[in-house]
Symmetry: C2
């Protein structure tokens, strides 16, 4: 068991993924003794004062870091963003109505499937024609839709909305893979949701940040578990919440705040992306797989022009302590996920391997 907080592995895992090393240390401490109580964070009541404070702080830090309007509300629920795909039409689609969707890949496709099952989905734009290698632009959002939904960043294909759409209807965004990575005008969104396990914490909790004024408009009677307004009214404790994941979220948000908030995070992410994409573009051995203007700062994807070189390249980056850069099976090649907590030094380690490999095989 390592007792220091020095990184042993450069973890480019696509999610769950790296969190700050100090968060791991504090989380491990709390599993043994939560805030000096003599109790593990795993055995305390969610109704205890110390955990109520954790929940409140986590909810408040989300709003503070994102600069959300005061009346917006935050809840943390189990089930992942896939549960979010299901909750969106439950909370926003009127009987006989429809949601408008942009399809930018796997996660959008799943969200669209849920809307179709719930009543109706209109796909206003899609990049499926080119294996989701770009972000559609210039589409029209119908004003008779109940809401407009998009996925801000696609982890599998490595694309990202660089500019957010403007919508005549309530705008909803799945920001699972780039929440807290850059500034967002929260007031433009009715609902932002995000699975924790990329930029916010471990797997097991999903964050919903919403304007409560946009809820309760469908006339439907919802199950209390499906009803975002109910969860907010119960301070995100309608039922037992995922205690430990939420505690680790709080630690991660505290870390973000301490290092300078989203302004500092965005600066770091830009530096990592510049180094990574610069290396891909400079070395003729490698090629990016997405449209340049839509490249994700979170998940750069690339291929070796000569696939026969892959085994030699794989051996070299594994030797350098690099983990998790094989691409998703639907794209192939490589994906270097660079979430908020991934240090620049890890990107340096990877790009140095790429340079060295190019020298040997160039």
């Amino acid at each position: 068991m390592p007792t220091d907080t020095k990184m042993k592995v450069h973890n480019f895992s696509a999610g769950p993924c790296i969190l700050p090393q100090e968060v791991f240390q504090k989380a491990a401490d709390a599993v043994l003794d939560f805030e000096g109580s003599g109790l593990s964070i795993l055995e305390i009541s969610h109704r205890s004062k110390p955990f109520e404070a954790v929940m409140l702080k986590s909810r408040e830090l989300v709003k503070e870091l994102l600069g959300a309007p005061a009346h917006y509300q935050t809840v943390f629920l189990g089930g992942g963003a896939s549960m979010g795909f299901h909750l969106v039409p439950q909370n926003y689609m009127k009987p006989g109505g429809k949601g408008a969707y942009v399809n930018t890949g796997e996660w959008s496709t799943r969200a669209i499937k849920e809307a179709k099952l719930a009543g109706g989905a209109e796909v206003v734009a899609s990049s499926e024609d080119k294996n989701f290698s770009y972000i559609p632009k210039g589409f029209t959002i119908p004003s008779d839709a109940d809401y407009f939904h998009f996925t801000s960043n696609n982890t599998i294909f490595g694309t990202q909305f660089k500019q957010f759409p403007e919508s005549p209807v309530p705008m909803i965004c799945d920001m699972s893979s780039d929440i807290f990575s850059r500034p967002v005008n929260v007031k433009d969104f009715a609902l932002i949701y995000a699975g924790a396990q990329k930029n916010m914490g471990p797997a097991g909790a999903t964050m919903y940040l919403f304007d409560p004024a946009t809820l309760g408009k469908t006339g439907k009677k919802l199950s209390p578990m499906m009803d975002l307004a109910n969860h907010a009214a119960k301070d995100s404790m309608y039922n037992t919440p995922p205690v430990f994941p939420i505690y680790v979220i709080m630690l991660t948000l505290e870390w973000m705040k301490r290092i300078g908030g989203i302004a500092e995070i965005a600066k770091r992410n830009a530096a990592k992306a510049e180094l990574m994409y610069g290396t891909i573009d400079r070395l003729p051995l490698f090629n990016g797989t997405t449209a340049k203007e839509d490249r994700s700062d979170m998940n750069p994807t690339f291929v070796l022009n000569d696939a026969a070189l892959e085994p030699a390249f794989d051996a070299m980056w594994k030797e350098a302590g690099i983990n998790g850069i094989r691409g998703h099976r639907s794209v192939g090649g490589y994906r270097a996920s660079m979430y908020n907590a991934l240090p620049l030094e890890s990107v340096k380690a990877l790009t140095e391997v790429m340079e060295e490999f190019a020298k040997k095989n160039g």
Copy 2:
């Protein structure tokens, strides 16, 4: 930070609750370094081989410990047993059909509410007339119901089914608060589900154990997130599962197996219950609050006959390092939750305080 595994606090919390001390130690180790990988359990991919092994082992141990028929399936989902209340009618209620329910308190009431929202609930028996202080008996389950649902143990009121009903329709049980505490004939149940945070692990995962032959009979088209058969077909990885809670479940199930399985656990629980209820009954100062034949081995509830003595009693048990025995607000008095991992020594500590208090005030 304590470095040994000695108990510092007698934790009678009603849930989340005590787990074996060695589980806390192993869980903390894995937060720093999971199985010598150099990575935290919080940052590994759920698609990595080591976590796939954790998931498989957790699912298999559930069946092994409970002696479930080989064709039964296990999945772990987020959302708590409250999500289970919602999933039951989704998976088992036909359009125009109904579920039959016994109402033994808060959790049954919430389950019934979900069934009503989904179409229909017939309450075949209820103990609401006496503030849920007993378990209804001799009721008839209608053979035209789509399923029959009950809650095996009520944590708030401290009652427990000592004998399971026989049902002419698929029998479904919420065993959140007494799963793995005693032998169960799994084959009598279409579905058993349980939030992890009492006898199985930390908050954040719910276990579903079911006969797959009982699913897919409603003719309804379900959301993939609501569909137990879909989750089973995807090996409980349709979407990112709550990785860390499932890991801690595995550790807890391994502990159960090592100490002798459910036979040994049931023996320990019986000894704890005998000591606790014996003390309540022997001391005229205290009174149990439930029908004797329906007393829960998990959550003994009792009151002081003279409520004016409560502050003095509270001071005494707190001084003895006892935590979490104030009763639920809807019952008052005391509740000493004695889940699987609570050692007999904790019950001895509490009953000694009760004896001493009775001597001083008897």
